[in-house]
Symmetry: C2
Subunit: 241 residues, 2 copies
DNA sequence: TAGATTGTTAATCGATTAACAATC
DNA sequence: TAGATTGTTAATCGATTAACAATC
């Protein structure tokens, strides 16, 4: 799936580690805001919600940025991780599909402070295009190629209905985008070299439901087991907005 | 983290498999909509975006629901997976925090068809409470305990700002909720027996940025490398809505 | 020097994959 | 019977973890 370049740098960072680096970065930001200048692997691990052995192992792939007997300098480690991830500079991003979710994404103020800059909002619906969301004009989807070229956009966000997602992805790839964050509930097919990550609300809920069901089974009566709906309703065809 | 009951049923399904069952379910729904009644592991795997060996291995944990030489009956397999996950019945869910994201979640029509029913929208802001979103009245957060009790709610969704998330989680847990889906960018501390899953927009984007940066490094010039922002901007304190 | 904590080793655990016997 | 495809085995790969030597 993800790019797996082989002989590039001395270190080859495992995927599982890469996925945790942003979590460490956020935990470090929290420490900075609390006025903490130095921390041990134990403290940082707690803030990030992992165990300290895993944290130290993860950081060891980046280099030796701590001091034995002392810990880590919060500011220095923050910079090193940000540099490793690649968010010491802002990445321009386009969001396609300005429905409810697109609105929420456009208004999400966390992007800017974490290395991203929304350069355009696009929607195929010409009614929506022309409006303004979060201070950014919504533009017709057809302007995608121009916008990607003008702003050197490498990352695209898809917040369209499932039916439109693949064709939006195709246009994104053709226009030069090589990383896609997909919120539409559909599997995207993209060429090698293009990375896709997927966020799916109901899949996350279903994973919780699985465990919830098991809790109820182990300890019947202790956990409320929801009102009884019909299985027909639960299994009916999708009506994704 | 997640519940790990030991001697419960004959099978002990791996976490990685559980996380993929909802993906298979969605792929099967797609096949049903296309009028396909039977499929091979190869076809279903393609629709789900995994390889067929992994799919068959995953399904083998549930039982033997296929026919050698033939494949799987789509409707039968759909039911078996839905039953395993626990979504043949509807799970009542509450959403706390009706900002932009809460709005989007409340309006997400996919919940209903996938085993969930939003029974209440809650917000601490009394201005918001009293409004109506997606046909559901927004109620004061203080009514949480009553609503959870009345509707036997086991699953809660947090869409509040980061600063409020932990206290909302505490109240949820105290009220009897044992599964939480957290959209706020903060690490939640909960008692054993409570499951938390986290969805984080900027973490997903940062993972993409990491790989994007590597692509640019391997093949300079071929991939646009975004406008140059200041590292100060990228690392400034959070401004999460 | 004594205490603390990192960075690394090595063992363990879990997940993935290819191959194929079972069987429709 | 011949062809197709599942379910399972076993090998491989990657991730986690505890323990501790290195070193501040």
């Amino acid at each position: 799936m993800s790019s797996r370049s082989s002989a590039e740098s001395a270190r080859e960072i495992p995927e599982a580690t890469i996925a945790r680096l942003p979590v460490y970065l956020r935990a470090l930001t929290g420490l900075t805001e609390s006025g903490i200048a130095t921390c041990s692997s134990e403290e940082l691990a707690t803030a990030a919600g992992v165990n300290s052995a895993k944290l130290r192992k993860d950081l060891s792939y980046l280099g030796s940025y701590g001091t034995r007997g002392v810990g880590y300098d919060v500011e220095y480690l923050t910079y090193q991780i940000a540099r490793e991830i690649g968010v010491t500079q802002d990445w321009p991003v386009v969001i396609v599909g300005i429905g409810n979710l697109g609105h929420a994404l456009a208004n999400y103020s966390g992007f800017r402070s974490r290395g991203f800059r929304v350069v355009a909002l696009l929607d195929a619906d010409l009614e929506r295009a022309g409006q303004e969301v979060a201070g950014i004009a919504v533009r017709p989807f057809d302007e995608l190629e121009q916008i990607v070229a003008d702003n050197a956009v490498a990352i695209g966000v898809i917040a369209t209905p499932a039916a439109a997602a693949q064709s939006v992805a195709d246009r994104m790839v053709a226009s030069g985008i090589t990383s896609i964050l997909n919120f539409a509930p559909s599997v995207l097919t993209v060429p090698a070299g293009v990375d896709v990550r997927k966020v799916d609300l109901s899949i996350e809920l279903q994973i919780l439901a699985y465990h919830e069901q098991r809790k109820a089974a182990v300890d019947p009566g202790s956990v409320p087991q929801g009102a009884v709906g019909s299985s027909a309703a639960a299994l009916s065809p999708e009506g994704v907005s």
